[in-house]
């Protein structure tokens, strides 16, 4: 009996420490031959203090996964718990701990001003708007929107509207934030501000964040962990560093004296021309013996002199392309 109670207490404590728990989640659209398996038996957990990137090509099932987590799409199978509350059985308690930025949606009322939107969405998220006025002001300042606080959202540019939606979600106080394509329409400065704010939220308040984005630099610079989806299948759940280290896409960059177009043509089978000017040509090849030898042979036959050879580490973008295009 005592053992049972202890096991129960341990399991409750473990679920309390898990921000999001997704178990065997599946969703299929349509039937028969035209059926699409948007999410296929996906399980993972996210803990407070983690920023997890959601990666995958278009149609991989990322948005369906996000909507299934939130219950705006009802999954065929599986369960979702947010801070220990089941989204299916206790949605109101579960939703008290989550806020979301939907991709492409307006997320705001365009006929209300920026500040009116922030106050309204704070309220429906369960937060008294007066208690987060300072936070709203700070975020408006950070996103350079302070001067537009009393402007109707409809008068703002696409990027500014996205900033309003972001400020609204970031100020909500929810312990789990789900951001679907948050950098859409943002300029470089705003993207940098978003990175800073997300890092601050995680380090100061121990929140958990899911970030779905095609902007690999944002994922690489912010996320501790990535979930890679292909055709609704969770292909990889790993630390960003491990993913980069496991890649076979290390490259070699060669700089040589200029080459003619016939040589360029011959080289196209084994290397990629990066650039050529009057003084040099830069080529990139895969770091394998065969491709490197073939490239060097072609250059030797053309009488080109090699100036330098350097290996380059892969970035997340090249790893992503490698993993999603090979279907490996």
């Amino acid at each position: 009996m005592i053992e049972c109670v202890l096991i129960l207490m341990q399991s409750q404590s473990a679920s309390a420490q898990t921000a999001l728990s997704v178990t065997a989640l599946s969703k299929q659209f349509g039937r028969g031959e035209t059926a699409i398996q948007a999410v296929d038996d996906v399980s993972f957990e996210i803990h407070p203090g983690e920023i997890v990137g959601l990666l995958g090509p278009n149609g991989a099932g990322k948005t369906t996964l996000i909507k299934s987590i939130l219950g705006t799409v009802i999954p065929d199978e599986g369960g979702v718990n947010i801070y220990g509350h089941s989204v299916a059985d206790a949605p109101r308690q579960a939703y008290a701990d989550v806020d979301v930025l939907f991709e492409g949606a307006r997320n705001d009322y365009w006929r209300l001003t920026v500040r009116e939107n922030l106050r309204y969405f704070a309220t429906i998220s369960g937060v008294h708007p007066d208690s987060v006025t300072k936070e709203h002001d700070r975020l408006l300042e950070q996103f350079e929107l302070a001067a537009e606080a009393d402007t109707p959202v409809r008068s703002l540019s696409r990027g500014m509207k996205q900033k309003v939606s972001l400020a609204s979600v970031l100020a909500s106080g929810a312990r789990l934030l789900i951001l679907d394509e948050p950098t859409l329409g943002l300029d470089v400065a705003a993207t940098r501000t978003l990175r800073r704010e997300l890092q601050r939220l995680v380090s100061d308040t121990d929140r958990a964040i899911i970030l779905s984005s095609h902007d690999m630099s944002v994922i690489e610079s912010l996320c501790n962990r990535v979930l890679l989806f292909v055709d609704g299948d969770l292909r990889a759940d790993t630390q960003v560093e491990s993913l980069l280290n496991s890649s076979e896409t290390q490259h070699v960059e060669l700089t040589a004296s200029p080459i003619d177009s016939a040589t360029q043509q011959r080289l196209s089978s084994c290397s990629q021309l990066v650039e050529q000017d009057d003084t040099a040509v830069r080529l990139r090849t895969k770091a394998t013996t065969s491709t490197l030898c073939e490239t060097l042979n072609h250059l030797e036959m053309a009488g080109a002199s090699i100036k330098s050879i350097e290996t380059t580490d892969p970035d997340l973008e090249s790893v992503f392309v490698e993993l999603t295009s090979d279907d490996s």
Partner: protein
């Protein structure tokens, strides 16, 4: 929640939703003004056209026409505003945002309904005033009884609006066709409930007959039989509840099909 943030209760939610609706009504009056102008234009056509064709016969029944037209503008306004509003929330993606909150969409939808009702009362009262001036008619009625009877009558139509909004969530583009339903309310407002008593169970019909008595004869609420008042309340609650249930079921179906946020 951050250290400074405190929870918002239902009172704060009520204030926020009603404030938002009031802001939009005041800040964007074009819709309301347009609605008043169009309603008055049709009344003028009916009134002067009817006088040319029917003469004294129209004058004898003008009070009934004014009251019926008042109730129709009230119900058409309430129906259109709630069904269009739900369609807009779907289109904008804000419906999904409401659903994923600790309050959910139900209390927000209910408060929106209340706000739309108040809003249509304001515009329909202006229309009523103009109709009385145009037709040279006067009515003696108790305002509180009128508000209660008209409010309960229109509540059943709000239920129909929720149902239509729910169907729009599922089938999207059907919304504009469902808008035509408001013209069917003319039949309900003028339903012969004395000749065919079973018509009383339809939305508006029983309420419309009671409103005629209230506004033409000055009947007070307590002067009606408990059965009549009970039926008025039952029809209002039944259609409002039924309409909201349809909205919930269609929303659930849209979530199952994954089309809630699609437009």
């Amino acid at each position: 929640m951050s250290a400074e943030a405190t929870s918002a209760g239902y009172l704060t939610l009520i204030r926020a939703v009603l404030y938002r609706e009031a802001l939009l009504f005041i800040r964007y009056p074009a819709n309301a003004i347009g609605g008043i102008v169009v309603a008055l234009f049709f009344f003028i056509v009916v009134f002067y056209g009817g006088q040319l064709l029917a003469g004294q016969a129209l004058d004898d029944s003008i009070e009934g026409i004014v009251i019926g037209y008042f109730l129709w503008t009230l119900s058409a306004g309430a129906y259109a505003s709630i069904s269009n509003d739900i369609g807009s929330e779907v289109q904008w993606g804000t419906l999904e945002r409401h659903i994923t909150t600790p309050f959910g969409f139900a209390p927000v939808a209910f408060l929106k309904g209340v706000a739309k009702l108040i809003r249509t009362f304001v515009t329909s009262t202006i229309i009523l005033g103009c109709m009385l001036v145009i037709s040279g008619t006067s009515l003696e009625f108790a305002p509180l009884t009128t508000i209660i009877v008209a409010g309960l009558s229109v509540s059943s139509v709000l239920g129909v609006g929720f149902a239509a909004g729910g169907v729009t969530v599922l089938y999207k583009r059907i919304g504009s066709w469902l808008g035509l339903l408001q013209f069917g309310f003319v039949g309900l407002v003028s339903a012969p409930v004395l000749a065919v008593p079973s018509l009383r169970y339809l939305p508006l019909a029983h309420g419309s007959a009671m409103l005629q008595q209230v506004m033409r004869d000055g009947t007070r609420l307590w002067e009606f039989s408990p059965g009549a008042v009970g039926l008025l309340i039952a029809v209002a609650v039944g259609y409002l509840g039924g309409g909201y249930l349809i909205f919930e079921l269609t929303t659930q179906r849209a979530r199952k099909l994954g089309v809630l946020g699609d437009y």
